[in-house]
């Protein structure tokens, strides 16, 4: 083959055509990217070139049922600087130092820092209104004002484990703070600007400030005064018995609202980092599970009545033990209660009596009723970390398991489950879902954003059954093991519980959880209150729910009903006086309106064995606690409130 010019020219042509083809491909690719894919890449460019400095929103507050803040957000203006946007750091620092009364050098050093954003610590944090206005007036490029907020706790450590804690950026870490974080946190705002790869603002581009949206306030069903009663009682129990843990809950049975919930030990939420995580991560009222003991007999009783397996007037003989599947289960009272009615079985919390009830009901009906009452399942309370509790699987329930379950052993339940179950007895047979949050409120407009209404889970017993159980429980307080909860006029019904705790596979001889669950007034309860005291250490006295836990609930219910303006009633079951156990009662005189000296003289002369303590200043007694006509034990203290005028 000869190399001719025509061969060469032909090859030129081929290559030229090929080149045209390749150029076609290049042009096609450019067109594709700049038209069809342009949207995608513009988005990517936007992400790449805009820097966004987050501006935190003010966190919503927790309010109590009356709208008073329980956990507050305190905010103030804070100066932040975006160093890359500051054109003249020197003069900027000078101007800032003048307004903020800070060290020029320190501010200058902060402004020169190589970060996206810097807080002007310490001079520029939480500045007052006047400084805020002055800074705003300066209109310095790269200097911004933002609201900075911190949590403040007007109630201190009260109910701290319920509220939970927030972290360094204000995010909820536990408790309600965690559960409602999405409601409280609001929407972050941002300072956005166009920047080069090293974060410097590209000249002649706009920056935008997007205002943050504050989070909603969360109004809780909690009542501050009732919570204070609860906290006071817990303090007293702790001082007296040095227990490991105490848990208390107060509920409104008609709605399922939780009015108070608190645990001991608590902690100072401002310094939560210094305490054990268990304190702020675990709310014992919903987390802790234990054998309820006798308080659980309420469920057995209600089921037996509902299933027509007992009338309370029927008689029963307790020899002091009960034989089940070769085991001899003893009654707590040595020698037994002898012959009694089933009402007395309840009053005496007699174990053999309840075993009989359990056998009459049968395992299927009893366990299905227990589940109906909400045990073995979460109540659905809006708190993190709720436990389910443990029930015997039905297939493994023999006569022994049936017997122990009937008087509250071998089942494991949470405090909140017991409150809701007894709440169903109190409200006439409806199991409610616990309601802790009533509404979300927009803090700026005060507008209710969302409201939550009570939720009935199911009917568990009939109204008539519930009424009979309440009547029996009123007898327990007035005439039986719950006598220490008795409060004149408040018709308290309730049940004690004393459960031994299993330690190393055996029931411990010292470690008990004593509890009491009560409601009042018995005919139409407005409140259910519960206390569990884990490992009380009383001096020289046996550990019984009746002596340790019952008075706590008596006090809380009486005080709460008083502030709820529920009038005392005289139609309740009268108290059986127990000589040597119950104190002699004395009726309080009316001292209000008298001159202080006269009041004291009258007290002395009347021969009542009562003490006086005084609040306030003045010559006249303005009011008194307890009020006139109430019965108090001899030796009680009457508090007189003094004022200048009659």
């Amino acid at each position: 083959m000869k190399v001719t010019d025509s061969l060469i020219k032909r090859r030129f042509l081929f290559v030229l055509l090929g080149t045209c083809g390749v150029f076609g491909l290049l042009i096609g690719r450019v067109v594709h990217i700049t038209t069809i894919e342009t949207k995608f890449y513009r988005q990517k460019a936007e992400q790449t070139i805009t820097r966004s400095i987050p501006v935190y929103a003010l966190r919503g507050q927790f309010l109590d049922a009356s709208g008073e803040p329980l956990v507050k957000t305190v905010s103030a203006s804070t100066v932040i600087a975006v160093p890359s946007q500051i054109r003249d750091p020197k003069s900027t620092a000078e101007k800032l130092a003048k307004v903020l009364h800070g060290s020029l050098q320190r501010i200058y050093r902060l402004l020169k820092k190589k970060t996206l954003m810097v807080y002007l610590r310490p001079y520029g944090r939480r500045i007052d209104e006047q400084k805020t206005r002055a800074i705003r007036k300066l209109r310095l490029p790269g200097i911004y004002l933002t609201e900075e907020s911190t949590r403040s706790y007007p109630l201190g450590s009260m109910s701290a484990s319920v509220f939970g804690v927030t972290g360094g950026e204000g995010q909820g870490l536990s408790g309600l703070e965690l559960y409602y974080n999405h409601v409280l946190e609001g929407k972050k705002g941002a300072i956005r600007y166009v920047s080069d790869a090293s974060g410097r603002e590209i000249p002649s581009t706009n920056d935008t400030y997007q205002k943050p949206q504050p989070g909603y306030d969360v109004q809780l069903s909690l009542s501050t005064p009732i919570s204070e009663f609860v906290a006071r009682e817990i303090d007293q129990v702790v001082a007296k018995y040095h227990p490991d843990h105490v848990t208390m809950i107060v509920e409104q049975p008609s709605t399922g609202k939780i009015l108070a919930m608190d645990n001991y030990p608590s902690f100072n939420p401002e310094q939560w980092r210094q305490v054990s995580p268990a304190l702020y991560n675990r709310n014992l009222a919903v987390w802790q599970t234990f054998e309820p003991g006798s308080t659980f007999k309420i469920v057995t009783l209600a089921t037996a009545i509902q299933e027509h397996q007992v009338t309370l007037t029927q008689r029963f003989y307790d020899p002091g033990y009960y034989e089940v599947a070769g085991h001899r289960i003893r009654c707590w009272k040595a020698g037994g209660h002898g012959s009694q009615t089933f009402l007395q079985v309840v009053e005496n919390s007699c174990n053999p009596g309840f075993i009989t009830l359990g056998e009459r009901i049968g395992k299927n009906a009893l366990f299905s009723s227990i589940k109906n009452f909400g045990f073995g399942k979460k109540t659905g309370i809006t708190l993190p970390g709720e436990s389910k509790g443990i029930l015997f699987p039905l297939s493994r329930v023999g006569p022994l398991e049936l017997a122990t379950t009937a008087f509250g052993q071998g089942v494991s339940v949470t405090p909140i489950q017991q409150v809701m179950a007894v709440g169903a007895i109190a409200n006439g047979g409806l199991l409610m879902k616990p309601l802790l949050v009533e509404k979300y409120i927009n803090p700026e407009t005060k507008e209710v954003v969302q409201a939550f209404s009570p939720h009935v889970v199911r009917r568990v017993v009939s109204e008539a059954t519930a009424a009979q159980v309440r009547d029996a429980l009123e007898h327990v307080v007035a005439q039986g093991t719950g006598a220490n909860a008795f409060q004149e006029g408040y018709r308290i019904a309730g049940k004690t519980g004393t459960a031994q705790v299993v330690e190393n596979g055996h029931y411990s001889r010292q470690h008990y959880i004593v509890s009491f669950i009560g409601m009042a007034p018995a005919n139409h309860p407005d409140l259910v209150a519960y206390v569990a005291i884990d490992y009380p250490r009383p001096k020289n006295s046996p550990v019984f729910g009746g002596t340790i836990a019952a008075p706590v609930i008596g006090h809380v219910l009486a005080d709460s009903l008083q502030i709820m303006h529920v009038a005392p009633s005289t139609t309740g079951i009268p108290k059986r006086f127990r000589l040597g156990i119950d104190p002699s009662m004395t009726q309080v005189l009316n001292l209000s309106g008298m001159k202080y000296q006269d009041a004291v003289r009258q007290m002395m002369n009347s021969g009542l064995i009562l003490r006086v303590s005084v609040s306030g200043h003045g010559d006249y007694v303005v009011s008194q606690r307890p009020v006139a006509g109430e019965f108090v034990p001899q030796g009680s203290t009457i508090r007189l409130y003094l004022g200048q005028e009659q």
């Binding site: 190399v3 080149t19 290049l26 450019v30 460019a45 920047s195």
Partner: protein, 365 residues
């Protein structure tokens, strides 16, 4: 005296590309030159200087008879090889961007590989013109030429500048084909070339990572895929009409060295699809004129020289735009006439001058 015949359209297109180049180098480099030299005009001033020098040389060469080159071809090539060796010697060759590829003092430097690229084209054209039939012989023509080319490429790979050697390798292959090499020789050469290329890529981890990044840039957006993504973002951001001259944001240190290898991305970002396609069409026209001159040339040297010079421009444009549009892995190749770079710009304009000279001779003939 004959009236001077100049291929006016070629001059206009070449100068238009240079003007676009200078403008875009200015736009793309202001940020970087501001940061590096505290002078926003640092790069553009140098580019303007070389554009002037190149244009001057272009007209000088256009007036000269290109056939004189045939006589000095050997000497020119030898000189290039000496430079290529010299540049590898530490303290003599300057390192910029990881390659010991510059000879010179201070900021002004000559890239011997640029010179070698053109002198090899001239030398091969002269050789083909002198022994028109030998290229068909494996022993007497094809292999010796490959050896000469191979030595040149080897020296450049040692800098290391794989991109430049790829450009030269491809150009020489096309020239061998033009000159009448046997297709079966060409076929084997393509195979060997590909194998060598793959081998070189596998040898250096940074080259391999570029290929990996090319295949899946979004998996490595912050490391090896960064260049590609930033380039594509610039293109996509430009859209149909661009964000406007001087309004690129990608040049704000997102796209590294925006004034050289990725200038086409800045062009597309600021001037949009319209501007980018316009530039590509200008190049296509330039290539068409170049090949037309080659076809009309009356002597074998002129034909092959014109075709070779045109080919080197085509190869560089294709690789550069291919990289910017992510059709190829990242390779450091400048866009002729447009990218910042003194040696490249000056020599490209000289090449146009030689093309003009060939065109002039063919008309006279």
């Amino acid at each position: 005296m004959h009236k001077l015949h100049v291929d006016l359209s070629l001059v206009v297109v070449a100068l238009l590309l240079v003007v676009i180049g200078v403008t875009m180098v200015h736009s793309a480099s202001t940020v970087l030159s501001g940061i590096r030299f505290h002078d926003n005009f640092f790069y553009v001033k140098k580019q303007l200087l070389f554009a002037s020098l190149g244009t001057f040389l272009m007209f000088v060469l256009a007036r000269l008879d290109y056939r004189k080159l045939q006589r000095v071809a050997g000497l020119l090539f030898l000189l290039s090889l000496v430079f290529l060796v010299l540049v590898l010697v530490p303290h003599i060759g300057q390192v910029r961007g990881g390659s010991r590829a510059w000879l010179g003092i201070g900021a002004f430097g000559l890239q011997p590989s640029e010179l070698a690229k053109f002198s090899l084209i001239v030398y091969l054209s002269a050789w083909f013109a002198r022994y028109p039939m030998r290229v068909q012989s494996l022993i007497k023509g094809f292999l010796p030429l490959l050896l000469i080319t191979g030595v040149t490429l080897m020296l450049i790979i040692l800098e290391p500048d794989l991109g430049q050697s790829a450009v030269i390798g491809m150009t020489i292959m096309v020239m061998l084909y033009f000159a009448g090499a046997r297709l079966r020789h060409m076929g084997s050469l393509v195979m060997i070339g590909l194998a060598a290329f793959v081998g070189l890529i596998l040898m250096a981890p940074y080259r391999l990572s570029r290929v990996v990044a090319f295949l899946n840039p979004w998996q490595y957006p912050d490391t090896i895929g960064y260049h590609i993504i930033m380039s594509l973002i610039a293109l996509g951001r430009g859209g149909l009409l661009g964000v406007g001259l001087f309004h690129s944001t990608q040049k704000f240190s997102y796209l590294p060295e925006p004034q050289t290898d990725f200038i086409f991305a800045i062009i597309t970002e600021e001037l949009g699809m319209v501007g980018a396609v316009f530039v590509l069409v200008l190049f296509l026209f330039l290539l068409y004129r170049g090949m037309l001159i080659a076809m009309r040339s009356t002597d074998r040297f002129g034909m092959l020289l014109a075709a070779g010079l045109t080919t080197v421009i085509a190869v560089q444009v294709i690789i550069n735009v291919g990289v910017v549009t992510s059709l190829m892995p990242v390779t450091g190749i400048t866009l002729p006439f447009i990218s910042y770079g003194g040696s490249s710009l000056t020599l490209m304009l000289c090449a146009v001058g030689v093309l003009l000279s060939i065109a002039r001779q063919s008309r006279i003939g």
